[in-house]
């Protein structure tokens, strides 16, 4: 997945050169204190890296080199700390925004979205305003939106941080379950050891 990646800021090395391959269905956790460059690493894979960083190395998704592709052409699904549901769209419209264009026709698209909602215990939520949802519901909608875009890989940028502690286990299971079910190579960035334990995969440590 990552080959010879190295990130520097103002001439200072941030992430030392390293390689990492994540197998389909595997969840690899990247841990490190804040400022260690772990979110920058995700931004690099997703294609949003700030040009102030000097980066070398390549990103391969499904064997294809996507390093030079714009973010929208990488098919890298990403979940941030906040759910970032678009506030001007309803829950269903948010999901439709994500749903791949290969699902055609109004009925088919609506069906795909309703099915996804039902499977996440959110049946009948199509017309709801995202602002009226609970934290756990919003987190699930955010994941559904990402999955409906049929990503080739999943990038998780501390997505459980803002959740109430009693929800965290549920949402972790929900996210990791879907990732494994779809055989997505998944990279989780966190500083929470519980996240890493729940992910149950290899752990890479960044920074000192």
């Amino acid at each position: 997945m990552l080959a010879g990646v190295e990130i520097a800021l103002d001439g200072r090395e941030l992430v030392p050169r390293f390689d990492l391959a994540v197998a389909p269905g595997e969840v690899v956790t990247v841990m490190g204190p804040s400022g260690s460059g772990k979110s920058t690493l995700l931004a690099f894979i997703g294609g949003f890296i700030d040009p102030v960083f000097r980066v070398s190395g390549r990103v391969l998704i499904d064997g294809a080199d996507v390093t030079r592709r714009p973010p929208e052409a990488r098919r890298a699904g990403i979940l941030f700390q906040d759910d970032l549901l678009f506030p001007h769209l309803s829950v269903g419209q948010n999901l439709a925004f994500g749903l791949v264009t290969s699902v055609r026709g109004r009925a088919a698209r609506r069906g795909a979205i309703d099915a996804a909602l039902a499977q996440a215990d959110l049946a009948g939520f199509f017309d709801r305003d995202p602002a009226t949802l609970s934290g756990g519901q919003r987190a699930r909608v955010a994941l559904l939106r990402t999955l409906l875009a049929e990503p080739r890989t999943l990038l998780l940028d501390e997505p459980f941080n803002r959740l109430d502690s009693h929800l965290r286990d549920d949402i972790r299971r929900f996210v990791f379950g879907h990732a494994r079910e779809r055989n997505l190579p998944t990279l989780l960035v966190t500083h929470d050891a519980d996240d890493a334990r729940a992910a149950g995969g290899r752990i890479v440590r960044l920074g000192a």
Binding site: F48, P71, A76, G77, F80, L84
Partner: protein, 557 residues
């Protein structure tokens, strides 16, 4: 194509100013080929210096400019120093939008109605308090000291500065800063003045300079409120420009250039004042003086600011009342009866200027919005960091006195055969609309969480789709507010309309200012009310539309 947006915007913006300044500077030094002058000479300057009463003109201009600016700054700062503390002052902030939307000229006309010896204020207290049964023989409006002119300017500049300070405070943790200073024994106003203002002032410096430049060189407000002999410098230059005697051109150009020098000098002097004040403030801080005197002073200034707001609303209400008054003998506080006669009689002649006002305002606003959004989107895509240089460029049309470059612009327009067209007027308005639209849009645009766009991109949306489907709707509120501000700025333009329109394109503002000297108060009231109502209406739409569009979206409320 997007990459062409910033250079295009700058060209649209800087070319007229540069060409205009050149077109003013060259004739001022005797170079005016159209009249057969091709040799550099100081003749125009000698004529200007020999103008009777020039010293009084300069003294009046400087006095009014500095007084109006200093007063506006003090009132606005006093208001903000206490507004974070007093809920009732906070509520006054709701009154800002209508005050800002009202054009200078309309407010000046209303202010004159208010303070004339026969004005509303005198009527309210007569004859009970004053014993006046006829208007007293005193000079209030157009007083030789320029106090009424300064007052009219303060009415408009104070709310503007308050808004600028409030906008800048959003980016600071005012509450925490004030709380920690108060815990150390400073009063609420002193806490704000010492802990918040020093850093905040850097962000309102350019708006303050814009206020200073405007107060020194406003023509429309001066035509309504300033003394006629000697007039302020900008009015003097304007008279010579407008004269049929072309031999006055070089002298007019020299006066316009002197106006530019006056503004530049005043800005430098103001900067020195800032440095001295900052030094004084630091000395006080080093001594640990808790400045208890700051509390009553700030309270007085805050009251003064509220007073200007009340006066401004009274001015607007007064014009409206005059326009529907059937008869209104002097000491009566209110008209005897109300009638729509004046409205129905004069509405037909208002139609054409109203159309022009709407057309110019809508076109200039839409163009400004497109350019500003294109520049901001380009900035984001190219990950550019805007510097202070860009900010100064944006403020340039607000800092350079209009009279100093609009005349040159008119010369260039004549040569291009564009003078007197609506297109020329729209372009001239754009110079002043664009800075306001860009400045009000830039912060919300840059503040939009970039992760929304990233989420959309990760879902496969390209940049164009993200811009149209995510950014525009999420920014609908600030975009509409920016449009309303731009429209209000356009409606208020007097000198740009006059010069670019070559007197052939009449808007509500040019008509109102023309009528202000001598016309029936009731007719003038009609124009002033329309002039004030139009931007207010657009403001209302801008605030109401998003609520309607997003009535089911709490996240955007």
């Amino acid at each position: 194509m997007l990459r062409a947006a910033p250079p295009l915007t700058l060209a649209l913006f800087l070319l007229p100013i540069a060409a205009g300044l050149a077109g003013t500077a060259l004739p001022a030094f005797g170079y005016l080929p159209a009249l057969g002058h091709t040799e550099v000479s100081l003749g125009a300057w000698r004529e200007l210096m020999a103008t009777p009463g020039l010293a009084d003109t300069l003294a009046l201009t400087l006095r009014v400019g500095l007084l109006a600016t200093a007063l506006s700054v003090v009132l606005a700062i006093g208001f903000c120093a206490l507004a974070h503390e007093r809920p009732w002052l906070r509520r006054c902030e709701n009154a800002l939008a209508p005050l800002l939307a009202t054009p200078h000229a309309a407010l000046a006309i209303g202010f004159a109605f208010l303070i004339l010896p026969s004005g509303w204020l005198a009527r309210l207290v007569s004859p009970d308090l004053t014993g006046w049964h006829t208007p007293p023989q005193i000079v209030t409006v157009r007083d030789p000291q320029g106090l009424s002119l300064a007052g009219g300017l303060v009415l408009k500049e104070t709310p503007y500065l308050v808004l600028m300070i409030l906008a800048a405070s959003v980016q600071m943790r005012v509450r925490d800063l004030v709380a920690s200073a108060r815990a150390l024994g400073y009063g609420p106003a002193a806490a704000w003045l010492f802990a918040v203002l020093p850093r905040l002032y850097a962000q309102i410096r350019l708006p303050v300079y814009a206020v200073l430049a405007f107060s020194l060189s406003a023509v429309d407000v001066a035509l309504i409120l300033a003394p006629g002999t000697p007039p302020p410098l900008a009015v003097l230059a304007m008279r010579w420009f407008a004269d049929y005697d072309l031999a006055l051109y070089p002298r007019a150009a020299a006066a316009a250039l002197l106006q530019l020098a006056l503004v530049a000098g005043a800005i430098v002097a103001w900067r020195l004042g800032e440095i001295l004040t900052a030094r004084l403030g630091r000395a006080i801080i080093l001594r640990g003086w808790r400045a208890p005197a700051a509390e009553p002073v700030a309270a007085a200034a805050a009251l003064g600011a509220v007073g200007t707001g009340v006066a401004a609303f009274a001015a607007i209400a007064g014009m409206a009342l005059w326009s529907v008054a059937a008869g209104w003998r002097f000491p009566a506080a209110l008209p005897e009866a109300l009638t729509l006669d004046v409205w129905t009689r004069h509405l037909p002649e208002v139609g054409r200027p109203l159309e022009m006002t709407l057309a110019a305002g809508a076109a200039a606003t839409v163009i400004a919005l497109v350019l500003a959004l294109a520049c901001l989107e380009n900035e984001q895509r190219a990950a550019l960091r805007p510097g202070t240089g860009t900010l100064w460029l944006l403020y340039l049309p607000l800092l350079v006195p209009q009279i100093a470059f609009l005349f040159g612009v008119q010369v260039a327009l004549v040569q291009a055969g564009l003078d007197g067209t609506l297109a020329a007027v729209i372009w001239a308005h754009l110079l002043f609309v664009l800075p306001y639209v860009f400045l009000s849009l830039a912060d919300p645009f840059r503040a939009l969480d970039p992760r929304f766009a990233r989420s959309a991109a990760a879902l496969g949306a390209g940049r164009a789709r993200i811009f149209v489907r995510i950014k525009l709707p999420m920014l609908a509120k600030p975009i509409l507010v920016a449009a309303a501000i731009g429209f209000a700025v356009s409606v208020g333009q007097y000198l740009p309309t006059l010069f670019a329109g070559a007197g052939r394109v009449a808007t509500l503002t040019t008509e109102a200012v023309t009528l202000a000297t001598g016309a029936d108060r009731r007719i003038l009231g009609v124009y002033a009310v329309l002039q004030a109502a139009l931007p207010a209406l657009v403001y209302g739409l801008a605030l109401g539309l998003p609520r309607l569009m997003f009535r089911n979206r709490r996240g955007l409320a």
